[in-house]
C-alpha cells in the first residue's frame, strides 16, 4: 500500500469506535455519531459482517442509532475471541463501501380525521396543515431502530420545522397504523397501544405479521418514504377509521 493511500485512510477515520461490556454474554459497540444517518448504515453493515463471521455463536444483535448490542453464546465463543472478531470487523467496516439500502414506500392518509394532533402541530409550527403534510412526506427517513413493540420503527430525522415534543400526557390508546412525530423522530404504530407521539395520519399497510414471513417490510438501516393518499384510497387499501 502506498503512503498516499494510507494517509487517505487515516483522514476518513474519525472518532474511534468503542466496545463496552454490557452483560455476562453481551458487548455493545458504539460508532461515531456526528452523522447519524451514516452511522446507522454502518451499524447495519457491521451487523451483517458479524452475522457472516460468527453465525450461530451469536444469540442476538440489536442495532439502534449509534450502537450495536451483540449477545453471544459464551459456551461457543469466549470473551477474548469475540472481542477480537469485532475489532477485525470494525477495521473491515472502515474500508468497506456503503451497501445499498432498500426504500419502502408507505401510504398515509393525512387529515384531521385520521391525525388528531395535525391541527395543533400546524399551529405550534406556525404552518398550515398542508405545509406540515408536505414537509413530512417530502423526504425519506432512515430506520434507526426497531423496538418499543414488534414492527415499531424509529425513523429520522424529521425536518426541524415540524419536530414536536411528545404529548405531556400519553394517550391510553393509539390506533393501529397511526403516524406520529416525537421530536425529530417519526413512526407508524404497528398495533394499537398506549403512546405519546403527535398523531398526524394513518397508514393502512400492516407492519407486523407474526404468522407469515417476512414479518416486517423493513429492517434497521432501510429507508421509508411516505406517500399521501385519500380517504377512498385508504379504505381501498384495507384501512379502518
Amino acid at each position: 500500500m502506498s503512503r498516499n493511500n494510507m494517509s487517505i485512510t487515516t483522514s476518513i477515520t474519525t472518532a474511534q469506535p468503542t466496545i463496552e461490556i454490557a452483560g455476562e454474554n453481551a458487548l455493545i459497540i458504539y460508532l461515531d455519531d456526528t452523522c447519524l444517518v451514516k452511522t446507522s448504515s454502518k451499524i447495519a453493515q457491521l451487523k451483517t459482517l458479524l452475522s457472516e463471521k460468527l453465525a450461530d455463536k451469536l444469540i442476538e444483535q440489536i442495532p439502534s442509532y449509534n450502537s450495536l448490542l451483540v449477545v453471544f453464546d459464551l459456551y461457543k465463543i469466549d470473551y477474548f475471541a469475540i472481542r477480537k472478531t469485532i475489532k477485525e470487523q470494525l477495521l473491515l467496516l472502515a474500508s468497506a463501501h456503503q451497501t445499498k439500502c432498500k426504500t419502502i414506500e408507505l401510504p398515509v392518509f393525512y387529515s384531521e380525521k385520521s391525525g388528531p394532533d395535525l391541527a395543533l402541530c400546524a399551529k405550534k409550527a406556525n404552518l398550515s396543515i398542508d405545509e406540515v403534510i408536505h414537509i413530512h412526506q417530502a423526504q425519506s427517513y432512515q430506520i434507526f431502530a426497531l423496538g418499543f413493540a414488534p414492527g415499531f420503527a424509529f425513523l429520522g430525522e424529521v425536518d426541524e420545522r415540524i419536530a414536536m415534543p411528545r404529548l405531556a400526557t400519553p394517550r391510553k390508546k393509539v390506533p393501529k397504523g397511526a403516524v406520529g412525530i416525537a421530536d425529530q423522530q417519526t413512526a407508524v404504530y404497528p398495533a394499537s397501544s398506549p403512546g405519546g407521539w403527535n398523531l398526524i395520519g394513518l397508514c393502512p399497510t400492516p407492519l407486523f405479521d407474526p404468522d407469515n414471513a417476512p414479518h416486517m417490510p423493513f429492517s434497521v438501516g432501510d429507508r421509508v418514504k411516505f406517500k399521501p393518499i385519500t380517504e377512498q384510497e385508504f379504505t381501498a387499501l384495507g384501512g379502518k377509521l
Partner: protein
C-alpha cells in the same frame, strides 16, 4: 367409531397469572421482539430434567400460585420453583419431584410461601404452537402460549405423552432456598464510567428493596438514589439483567419481558444465575449488589452449567 380425545388438562382455576414458557425467544430482538422465557430458568430446567424432557419443553410458569387443573388422561408431572402447598385429589405432595396423575385427578397448587414462581412441567411437554422459534408467552406482544395470553378458566391444555414414567426427585442439596436477602453479582459495564465514583460506590454499598412495581418486564427497586451525569442518550439494546437508572435514581433490573431498546443509562447487568433468584423474590426482599468482572462471571457460569447438567436425580415413589 369412538374418537379418542387427545391427552390434555382442563383449567379449573388459572391462579393469578399462569403462562406457558420455555427457554425463551432468541434471534428476534433486532425486530423489537423480546426474549420472554421462564423467569427462573434454573427451576424451569430442573422440572424438564426430572421428566427427561427436552430442555426447552414448554411448561407452565405459575406466578404466586392458585392453579387448579384436572387431568383428562394419565400422565407424569414435575413441579419445581417456589414452595407452595401442592395436592392431588386433596392428598399433600412435595415440590421438586415428579408425580403420577390418573385420568380425572385434580391437581391443586396453593399460594407460594417462599419464592413466587412455580414451574409445572409434564412428560412430553405442553403442546403449544411455536411463534418466532418459541412458545414463551409475552402478553405485551401477544406472542406465544395460547393466543398470546395467560391461561384461562375452562381452557384445555394439550400435552405430549400419556405414559407414566419413573418418578424422579431432585437431591435436596440441589434445591434452592429462596431468601428475603439477596446478593446479586453485577458484571459492570454499559455507561458505568459516566457515573461518578461516589455514585458507583453508593450503589454497591447500599441496600435496596424489591418494590411492588416488579414483574416479568423488570424489577423496580427502592433505596438510595443514584444520579447519572448523562442527561440524554440514544436508545440502545438492552440485555437480560441490565440495571438501568432512570431520572428518579431508583434502579430497575430488566428481565425476560423487557423492551429490547431503551435510553436510560445503565451500570451493567446482573449475572443470570443470580437473576433467577431475584425473579423468585417478592416485594420487600432486601438486595445488595456486588461488582464482578466478565471473566469471573464466565467461570461461575461454566461451573453452574456443569452442575446443572449433572443434577443427580433420585428415583423412587413420592
Amino acid at each position: 367409531m369412538k374418537v379418542k380425545s387427545k391427552p390434555s388438562f382442563t383449567v379449573i382455576s388459572p391462579g393469578m397469572l399462569t403462562t406457558i414458557q420455555d427457554c425463551g425467544r432468541f434471534r428476534q430482538a433486532h425486530l423489537g421482539i423480546t426474549t420472554g422465557g421462564a423467569a427462573d430458568n434454573n427451576a424451569f430446567m430442573c422440572a424438564n430434567q426430572l421428566l427427561k424432557n427436552s430442555e426447552d419443553a414448554p411448561a407452565l410458569e405459575i406466578n404466586f400460585g392458585g392453579l387448579q387443573l384436572i387431568a383428562n388422561s394419565a400422565t407424569t408431572i414435575a413441579i419445581t420453583g417456589a414452595q407452595a402447598p401442592i395436592s392431588i385429589n386433596g392428598e399433600v405432595k412435595a415440590n421438586w419431584q415428579c408425580h403420577h396423575l390418573n385420568k380425572n385427578d385434580k391437581l391443586d397448587i396453593g399460594f407460594a410461601t417462599s419464592g413466587c414462581r412455580i414451574y409445572l412441567a409434564v412428560s412430553g411437554g405442553f403442546i403449544v404452537p411455536s411463534q418466532f422459534g418459541s412458545t414463551s408467552t409475552v402478553i405485551r406482544e401477544k406472542l406465544g402460549g395460547f393466543d398470546g395470553g395467560a391461561i384461562k378458566t375452562g381452557q384445555i391444555l394439550p400435552i405430549g405423552q400419556t405414559e407414566k414414567i419413573p418418578l424422579n426427585k431432585i437431591n435436596s442439596h440441589y434445591i434452592p432456598k429462596y431468601s428475603n436477602q439477596l446478593n446479586l453479582r453485577v458484571i459492570t459495564g454499559y455507561q458505568i464510567s459516566s457515573f461518578s465514583r461516589q455514585q458507583v460506590n453508593k450503589f454497591f454499598a447500599s441496600e435496596y428493596q424489591v418494590s411492588s412495581q416488579s414483574d416479568r418486564m423488570g424489577y423496580r427497586l427502592t433505596g438510595p438514589k443514584i444520579t447519572s451525569e448523562i442527561s440524554s442518550m440514544y436508545s440502545e439494546g438492552i440485555c437480560q439483567g441490565a440495571i438501568q437508572i432512570p431520572p428518579d435514581g431508583q434502579p430497575i433490573v430488566l428481565a425476560n419481558d423487557r423492551q429490547t431498546i431503551g435510553g436510560y443509562p445503565k451500570l451493567g447487568s446482573v449475572l443470570s444465575i443470580d437473576l433467577n433468584n431475584l425473579m423468585q423474590s417478592p416485594q420487600g426482599t432486601k438486595i445488595h449488589f456486588e461488582p464482578i468482572s466478565i471473566h469471573c462471571a464466565h467461570t461461575l457460569l461454566h461451573l453452574a452449567k456443569a452442575k446443572l447438567t449433572n443434577v443427580p436425580l433420585i428415583q423412587g415413589m413420592s
